[in-house]
């Protein structure tokens, strides 16, 4: 394939719809909890009753501005809402309130970290507010509409056509997802449709400035699918051009069962949305003092957090990266450190043991059976010499399986480390008595056998012996033998 990419250059731009974490809808005071009973979160406004009017949700504007700050956009003091007109049963007013000619912010950027470790800045053309549509529910006897989602606040984040392959697109999307989650703008749940992606893809001969024919891919609901769909579409378009066919501008969708894109709508079926300024809403004014207020409440973003972890907790870049992979992991780590006071040991336990185990179990940190308190207690037990590191891992495994506290497990299984020299000496003497030939060999100069005796005593004490103390004592007892 490498030669074909010498000949053609793919051009990709992404449009992301992110649901804002507000308590109420964009233009009315209805709640919008996911999974509520059908048509219970509706009112005259979001169900498009005659005479109802929209009112801008200030909380949604706050979150939008937060997104604009996080993506380093230029925020416009004045922006206007516009109506996008089309008929569809999930759109009760016959138009969607959005922003068109004058969005509230433009010209931002997102840093995508590529697998090579290099970073690429992807331009953000604009972010604008809009309301979600309802959902068609296909049931026996016909199609019904659930309006619970109608009017839910969204921001649409439109990227520049800066991406050249699926990896760049995927990494841009992951970075964006992480920023929105960190800044508590959007919960990022892709299965629930709270973070949705459309991709615009075209291919042009390398060196040509003009873009090729644009294909729009709609509603792709996972990072993997976005990458797969883009790869598929690039290959399809190149094949098309190579065969001498003319590509037609159209909208396609990703069929994840068939692993291919399919035509949704041809250009002739494209809507004329007849945008015009929403006369029911005044100009949205975002003053600089309002922006500053939002800036001061801005949660820490992923890159800043990573840097802080490196300097504050003396972590290496890799661990800092792992521990700031999500807001929840970072929060878990910081809480644990506050309790243990040992940033490196805690980093080790969280990054390697806990995340590794969660990953293997297919769980998120939010569902961790091991609580911050329990993990901190375990780390303290190991670091304080109450149990050995090795026993610690056994205890951790038990904690993960049962959710019990480490002290309960240690007590239950009698795993407390033996640091009493008298008790250890008894065990050592027992081992010496049972292994006369090895004692003779040791005495004959085979120093390496020391490890054998340590191992045997460890076995005798069911691994509970304090390893450092044990080493000293074994040597002392053996050396004191005649």
């Amino acid at each position: 394939m490498s030669d074909i990419f010498d000949k053609y250059e793919p051009v990709i731009g992404l449009e992301v719809h992110a649901q804002l974490l507000t308590k109420s809808k964009m233009f009315c005071s209805c709640a919008h909890a996911f999974g509520a009973e059908i048509n219970t979160q509706i009112c005259p406004v979001c169900s498009g009753q005659p005479g109802s009017l929209p009112v801008i949700n200030q909380e949604a504007v706050n979150l939008g501005v937060r997104a604009a700050l996080a993506l380093e956009c230029e925020i416009h003091e004045e922006s206007i809402f516009a109506r996008k007109n089309y008929f569809y049963p999930d759109l009760p007013k016959g138009y969607q309130i959005s922003q068109f000619e004058r969005p509230f912010c433009t010209k931002g950027k997102v840093e995508a970290i590529l697998k090579s470790g290099e970073s690429k800045w992807i331009g953000v053309t604009r972010i604008h507010f809009e309301e979600d549509a309802g959902k068609s529910v296909h049931a026996q006897g016909g199609t019904m509409v659930n309006l619970n989602r109608a009017g839910v606040p969204l921001i649409e984040i439109v990227s520049e056509p800066d991406m050249r392959n699926s990896q760049e697109a995927g990494q841009y999307l992951r970075a964006l997802h992480s920023i929105l989650r960190f800044a508590q703008i959007c919960d990022g749940n892709m299965e629930q449709g709270n973070f949705r992606c459309d991709a615009n893809i075209s291919v042009r001969p390398r060196g040509q400035e003009k873009f090729g024919t644009k294909i729009e891919l709609k509603n792709i609901n996972s990072f993997r699918f976005v990458e797969k769909a883009i790869d598929y579409e690039i290959a399809r378009q190149i094949e098309c051009i190579e065969r001498g066919e003319k590509l037609v501008q159209e909208t396609r969708s990703w069929n994840s069962a068939k692993n291919m894109t399919e035509v949704m709508r041809a250009k002739e079926q494209a809507h004329d949305y007849r945008y015009f300024p929403e006369p029911d809403l005044p100009t949205l004014v975002i003053s600089s003092s309002w922006i500053e207020e939002i800036r001061s409440e801005m949660p820490e973003l992923p890159s800043a957090k990573r840097q802080r972890f490196i300097s504050q907790y003396a972590l290496n870049a890799y661990d800092a990266g792992v521990l700031t992979g999500s807001k929840e992991v970072a929060g878990f780590y910081e809480e644990a450190v506050a309790k243990t006071g040992n940033s490196k040991a805690t980093a080790n336990w969280v990054a390697n043991e806990l995340l590794g185990r969660l990953n293997a179990a297919g769980k998120d940190i939010g569902d961790s059976p091991v609580s911050v308190d329990h993990l901190a207690e375990l780390i303290a037990a190991v670091e304080g010499g109450k149990i050995s590191g090795k026993i610690g891992k056994t205890v951790f495994e038990e904690m993960f399986e049962t959710g019990k506290s480490p002290s309960a497990i240690i007590k239950e299984k009698g795993l407390v480390q033996i640091s009493d020299p008298a008790a250890l000496e008894t065990a050592i003497k027992k081992v010496i008595a049972a292994n006369p030939s090895q004692v003779a060999d040791y005495k004959g100069g085979k120093d390496k056998l020391l490890a054998f005796f340590v191992g045997q005593v460890m076995k005798e004490t069911k691994g509970q012996a304090n390893p450092a103390l044990l080493n000293t004592l074994v040597k002392k007892v053996l050396d004191s033998l005649p």
Binding site: P44, P50, V55, I56, R83, P89, G94, Y95, R274, P282
Partner: protein, 492 residues
Amino acid sequence: MTTFRKAGVQDLLEGYQRKEFKPSEVVSGTMAAITQLNPELNALLETRSEEVSARAKDLDARMGEASKLPLFGVPIAIKDNILVRGWKTTAGSKALQNYVSPYTGTCVERMEAAGAIVIGKANCDEFAMGSSNENSAYGPVKNPWDSTRVTGGSSGGSAAAVAAGLVPGALGTDTGGSIRQPASLCGVVGLKPTYGRVSRYGVIAFASSLDQVGPFGRSVWDTARLLEVISGYDAKDATSSRGVVPRYTEALALPSADSLRNINIGIAPEWMEGLDPEVKKSFDAAIETAKGLGAKIVEVKLPHAKYALSVYYLIAASEASSNLARYDGVHYGTRSKKWDSLEELYSRSRGETLGREVKLRIMLGTYALSAGYYDAFYGKANQVRRLIQRDFDEAFSKCHCVAAPTSPTTAFRLGEKMEDPLTMYLSDIFTLPVNLAGLPGLSVPSGVDSKKLPIGLQLIGRLFDESSLLQVAHAYEKARGPLSHPPWKGDR
């Protein structure tokens, strides 16, 4: 039994305070008058006698509040494009034939809180589109002065109900003259407030940037009382003004209110050309009366007002094409029985239920907003709209209000202009610019023509200065003296 037909808002309030009668007695009289006269007038569409009687009885028990509630026991008609919970709201359209309001509009909520009794929903042109009330799916309203003639529109039912004495006051809506023109043609007072003065929440939108709710009364005082109740900021309407609402009726009670000594009234020569001679005569006489009260008359220029008709029909139709998209038979309203596809569901439901004029304006507006035409039509119209606003700004640097005829003619015959929409549209040439500029406008009767048909004087004010309009109209009304009433047909 008295029908209370001649009692105005003020008369009723005074009567209640003197405990001369109770709300249920007034309502019984009103209902009797409606039963007797409405079948011919067709002014009211729905009346719900049980609910209305219950409400009146409730107020009977609260007679002690008569002096506190500004509309205690006053029967009111509400134009049928304003929602009142439990009442049908059809907007004069088949598309909403069986639509029962799930909530109450803010203006009605305020009236009810003030003690008013909603007595009926008033007929109107379909979705408030029309100047004769002949576009209602429920038949035209007849002018109480001459039942072969139109009431004007689109708030024809509200104007006729007040003129015929079915109710002392009513609410209408005015997008391009829909309160003032029927007020003029029916010989009552009608006021279109400044855009933003009255909440539009619960008012079926025709053209959102122009629509405004306003009152009808048989006197300026009655109109002022209704206005002060319905005005003011509403958190449910983002375009409503946070400005403080003056106590309009208190200002009218001041002795100084009878003089126009410090008032400058502007007249635009552009508007005096080609007027019906009888309308012109009445206007000139009204101006003479104002002069006699001490008003100074100044000449103002409104050079862009002549574009108002074109500008209005582009802006109003564009907004309407979007506002009326929801009447598609999917979620509520009338759905066609014959459809096999989604597209057919839409086209048949809308095709079968929307009237000719409404379809015409939807098509015009859809075209004006289409890709490639937006700048030339909607965009350009908005530019000219600003020029019209600027004309008025300039005029108001010289005067407190601008006077003009409300309508170029008196009530025309039913059917006379139905086949010629352009002639019909010309009925509103003096009222349209006022909506485009967002200004308040009032129509007060200035006499009758030789056919005994009423003529209206329009006063146009500065933004949020309804007070001046009411004061000038009130002083004029007093000086003019009682109007010869429409024949109080069937009065007992």
